[in-house]
């Protein structure tokens, strides 16, 4: 199993550009998450999904959109990039099975908006 994979690893955007951060998991997990990590801070939840076709906002959803058409994929879309979106983005997934459902994280995408 590859686990949780994210592409790209790094990206520089200009203000106003748009892009999609890709996230794929091959563990058949039903829950998937997008977090952002700003310098010197912990991770904050942007959006999450409890299954294909179901998404919901997290703590910091403004400026982002998501979709979940398959169990495996959970892309994050930035429509009009702003400098405040400069951050490291992590995708995570977990399988809700009883009480022990560890979240597995991808390697992260470092995004800079100039």
């Amino acid at each position: 199993n590859a686990g949780v994979t994210q592409t790209p690893k790094f990206r520089i955007l200009k203000i106003g550009q748009s892009m999609t951060l890709q996230c794929t998991q091959d563990m058949n997990h039903n829950y998937m998450y997008w977090y952002r990590q700003d310098p010197g801070m912990g991770l904050k939840l942007i959006y999450y999904s409890v299954g294909a076709g179901i998404t919901d906002k997290g703590e910091v959803p403004n400026g982002y959109n998501v979709s979940r058409s398959t169990t495996e994929d959970f892309p994050l879309r930035l429509e009009l990039a702003a400098p405040s979106q400069t951050s490291v983005y992590f995708c995570a997934s977990s399988y809700l099975q009883g009480r022990n459902n560890e979240q597995f994280f991808g390697p992260g995408t470092r995004l800079t908006v100039l």
Partner: protein, 115 residues
């Protein structure tokens, strides 16, 4: 809303010594999980240890152990026999049961291990 506080932005320890990282949290729930994650320079988030709130026994994983004080809402991580590879950012995280099952993170503690 739940919050997680790590009051030590940086800590250092000598190799082979023991260090304790502090974490406090705020919640009105009675059943939840607490975690410690390690983030080395590679950025990968690595689960170190987890604690279920309904269990009174403190969790241990090899050199890593926790001191869970539910009434005080305190969850500290003890690293014994520190190794150079333990140097990293350490994040305390909280997860309520049900709903989104999202993790709420503290700001982290940077641990330096001196040879």
């Amino acid at each position: 809303a739940q919050t997680v506080t790590q009051s030590q932005p940086e800590m250092s320890v000598q190799e082979a010594e023991t260090v304790t990282l502090s974490c406090t949290y705020d919640t009105s729930e009675s059943d939840y999980y607490l975690f410690w994650y390690k983030q080395p320079p590679s950025r990968q988030m690595i689960l170190v240890i987890r604690q279920e709130a309904y269990k009174q026994q403190n969790a241990t994983e090899n050199r890593f152990s926790v001191n869970f004080q539910k009434a005080a809402k305190s969850f500290s991580l003890k690293i014994s026999d520190s190794q150079l590879g333990d140097a990293a950012m350490y994040f305390c995280a909280y997860r309520a049961l049900g709903g989104s099952e999202k993790l709420v993170f503290g700001k982290g503690t940077k641990l330096t291990v001196n040879p």
